[in-house]
């Protein structure tokens, strides 16, 4: 790990160098009234004034629907074509928030805790993350309450902290980060000794994670789930924008003799998610599904995978059509 300084024009030159290296570059772009990661070619396309992108980098790292493998039926036989990791394009994510980058750890925990997930790993290998520490936050942000911070470097290959002069402190964190620096090493100057913390937004913790965890361990039969979930509509917006939600579905796309098996995101909030063919549904009610969402992130994952399933990005609260504010709900559980 090495800390450097990069000035304003240096940032642009370096950015251009990354683009010309042939890698896909995704960055937040403001269009259609929303800020979201999109492929960009020029630094000027990158959005400035915003707190959070609508979707997490999950939407840029993974395809919305991904072919696990494809097949063709020939004379009663089936030929399989495996997923090719090399088909994944080299991707650089620019201006990622630390809470987004922190999502890789829980995602990897889910995908690799037992058998390794070839596809997930292929995407990870091909993705480099240049995060920007956060100088601003809003009422939905709570990374500091879930082991994160506005300057958290977990999951990032490089982290930039923007300085008033338009330059930035560049923390080069990984080998992948070094490779990116190597595309234009001369713009990286020696560290000027600026304290990063000075430029981070001050975000007090809103609840104590251990306390919440202890409460949740005993809360399975609590009435809180029903009370909190009453207005929940049962859509999947929270899960789809979440940087750590990994529930998925496997589906078939067949055309005549050819077909492919497809993986796409799913959501534990959907009523049909756990429905058995027999008609029995273990999580029949919305309150049970809401409980599953919270317990999975804040109790099951910490216990089973040693990682909390929430990075405090606040997207689910912002995306929810009926203001199911996760911070408010967790805080209220902590206070119980």
């Amino acid at each position: 790990m090495e800390t450097k300084y990069i000035n304003k024009s240096g940032i642009e030159q370096w950015f251009n160098a990354i683009v010309s290296s042939g890698k896909r570059v995704f960055a937040p772009v403001n269009s259609r009234g929303q800020v979201d990661f999109k492929p960009v070619k020029k630094l000027s396309e990158v959005a400035d004034e915003y707190i959070q992108t609508t979707q997490s980098i999950k939407a840029s790292v993974y395809p919305k629907a991904e072919v696990l493998f494809s097949y063709e039926k020939v004379n009663g036989k089936v030929n399989l074509t495996d997923f090719d990791p090399e088909s994944v394009a080299e991707t650089v994510l620019w201006k990622v928030h630390p809470c987004d980058a922190a999502g890789f750890k829980p995602l990897s925990a889910i995908f690799n805790w037992d058998t390794a997930d070839k596809l997930h790993n292929a995407h990870l290998v091909k993705t480099s993350v240049i995060s920007f520490s956060c100088a601003a936050a809003d009422e939905s942000c709570f990374c500091t309450s879930v082991n994160g911070s506005p300057g958290n470097t977990a999951g990032s290959d490089i982290q930039l902290t923007m300085l008033p002069d338009g330059g930035a402190i560049a923390e080069i964190l990984t080998f992948k980060g070094e490779t990116l620096v190597a595309l234009m090493p001369n713009v990286f100057e020696a560290d000027k000794g600026e304290k990063k913390e000075k430029y981070l937004v001050d975000l007090p913790t809103r609840f104590n994670l251990e306390e919440v965890n202890a409460k949740l361990n005993k809360a399975f039969n609590s009435t809180v789930w029903k009370e909190q979930s009453e207005r929940c509509l049962g859509c999947g917006a929270c899960a789809f924008v979440c940087p750590t939600c990994a529930c998925f579905d496997i589906q078939e796309d067949a055309h005549g003799s050819k077909g492919r098996r497809i993986r796409c995101w799913d959501a534990c909030g959907f009523a049909m998610f756990t429905l058995h063919t027999s008609g029995h549904n273990p999580r029949e009610h919305q309150s049970q599904r809401w409980r599953q969402r919270i317990l999975h992130k804040f109790s099951y994952m910490p216990e089973r995978l040693s990682v909390v399933g929430c990075t405090g990005c606040g997207r689910c609260s912002r995306a929810c059509p009926v203001d199911m504010n996760i911070l408010e709900h967790i805080t209220s559980i902590a206070k119980q």
Partner: protein, 666 residues
Amino acid sequence: MSKIGVFICHCGENISATVDVERVAREIGGMEGVAHAIDYKYMCSDPGQTFIKEAVKKYGLDGVVVGACSPRMHEPTFRRACAEAGLNPYLCEMANLREHCSWVHEKSEETTEKAIDLVKMMVEKVKKNKPLDSIKVPVTKRALVIGGGIAGIQASLDIANTGHKVILVERDPSIGGHMSQLSETFPTLDCSQCILTPRMVEVAQHPNIKLYTYAELESLEGFIGNFKAKIRLKAKSVNYSTCTGCGACIQKCPVKKIPSEFNAGLGTRTAIYVPFPQAVPNKPVIDRVNCNYYKRGACKICEKTCQVGSIEWDKEDEIITEEVGAVVLATGFDVKGTDFFPEYGYGQYKDVLTGLQFERLASASGPTFGEIRRPSDGAIPKKIVFIACAGSRDPAKGIPYCSKICCMYTAKHAMLYQHKVHDGESTVFYMDIRAGGKNYEEFVRRAIEEDTVNYVRGRVARVYEKNGKLIVKGVDTLLGGEQVEIEADMVVLATAGVANCGSEQLAQKLHVSYDPYHFFAEAHPKLKPVETNTAGIFLAGACQAPKDIPETVGMASGAAVKVAALFSNDELVREPVVAVVNRLAPPLYSTCVGCFMCETACPYNAIEHEEIKGRDGSLIRTIARVNQGLCQGCGTCVAFCRSKSIDIQGYTNEQVYAEVMSLLND
């Protein structure tokens, strides 16, 4: 569903001349799930069918596709062959290689490829076919006939004579209907009552006919073969089992000035009355609206008169239930009153009559004993004007249709008038003369030529009273629109025939559809004129549209045959091409959420509400259920159901989807 047999027919050379049938069989033989594929000169021939039967057994086929002519031609043939070999007939489908391929294309590669596609499509469909069983519905062999006019009488007699029981319900105290009101009938001028009353008596005496007069249908539930009819027997206030019909009570009844319905308001009747002398049953009822006792609590003269003590003052309406298998609707029609016509004096001129009123005047049993006399002063009219199309064919009056009978009865009226008033002068204003019918045109000609009725083509603009005369102002369009003005003593309006009052409510009770004029709607204007859209309910006579007596009788006999055909088997067997609502194990029960939009879309009222109840009897959900007795299999509900909870057997979503996909995947 994986061992499909495919049989490609050459149809002599009809198919093989343009389609390479060997190639079709060969390529289809290589398809997944096809166990056997051959081609043969004539699949529909005995040896051809034998090939199919043998293959079904030999290869254990679970589906058969015959690529041959149109399924509209030979589908039954091949399905029967499959059934004989032990394969469910609904696992057999046909690909139309002749009408839709070989006959409409030239010999070419493309034609053969299309043939392959057509067969492929049916193979994919058959893979999704399910064995189906014909639907059997038990039939209650009793008919309900509603309406005791000539239509109802004829239908009842015809059904009764086939040996089946009939329940005949009549709203009025007597059967007979409009026909009993008529004087003579066109085109033969025989006396209406003379030909009708024997029939009426036959009804009353027929061992297979149960007659309920003074009764109305309260409700009808159920479906073809299995209806439950609730009938309201209106209180007659007279005990018919003791009443001898002597008529003494009628003589003594002090309320005498009630306009007689039978005489179309031209005569009077008493409060306890028999509508007309030849009534069946010939026993009185008390008209409670007009009876002094019911109105004021005192009188009871009839009771004192009655020797046998048949008056029942406290009798109430009674509701009985009859189980029937079929219903014949014969509720007839009505005519517009003169009050409908502002231009003809709003019905205020006493000597402006409707055709029906004129019938009563001309009738020997009428208020004038058959003499044509003016209601106003009893004088014999010397000049009389008949106005045809009064209301009919007049969109401005809301009656754009032709009432069909007016031309003929107007000619008859004029003729009867001329016969009765030898020095009288009659004029008929008409728009067109519609005399299609056996001896009809000749009849009209006779009126004009022999009876010197003056026919004027034109509309009458106004009729008004002046010095005791009716001034009729009209135009003669044949004379270039010349104004015509006639000072008449009497004017007869051939007022439009309209649906009987209450027909809309009755239709709703029966769930039969009706047209904008409230005439009941037939199932098909050409091919199903006596059926309604509700299976098991048939139409007879003028309740469907205005019609004359022969037509009515013909239709009534037609309806009777339909009923008899239905009753000819203990069970009604139907093609299983019907809709079904999916059912799942609890706790799901069904994916139907009970919005019942299908119910509003179904033309056959085949959608029922099924209540799903828990073990404790509490209502869990209400979902749709298809009554297989009523469903005709159009599938409109299927395309309409948002959650895909209804499907139609034989054309299921999976089947049609597979067909479409097979045409496009390659």
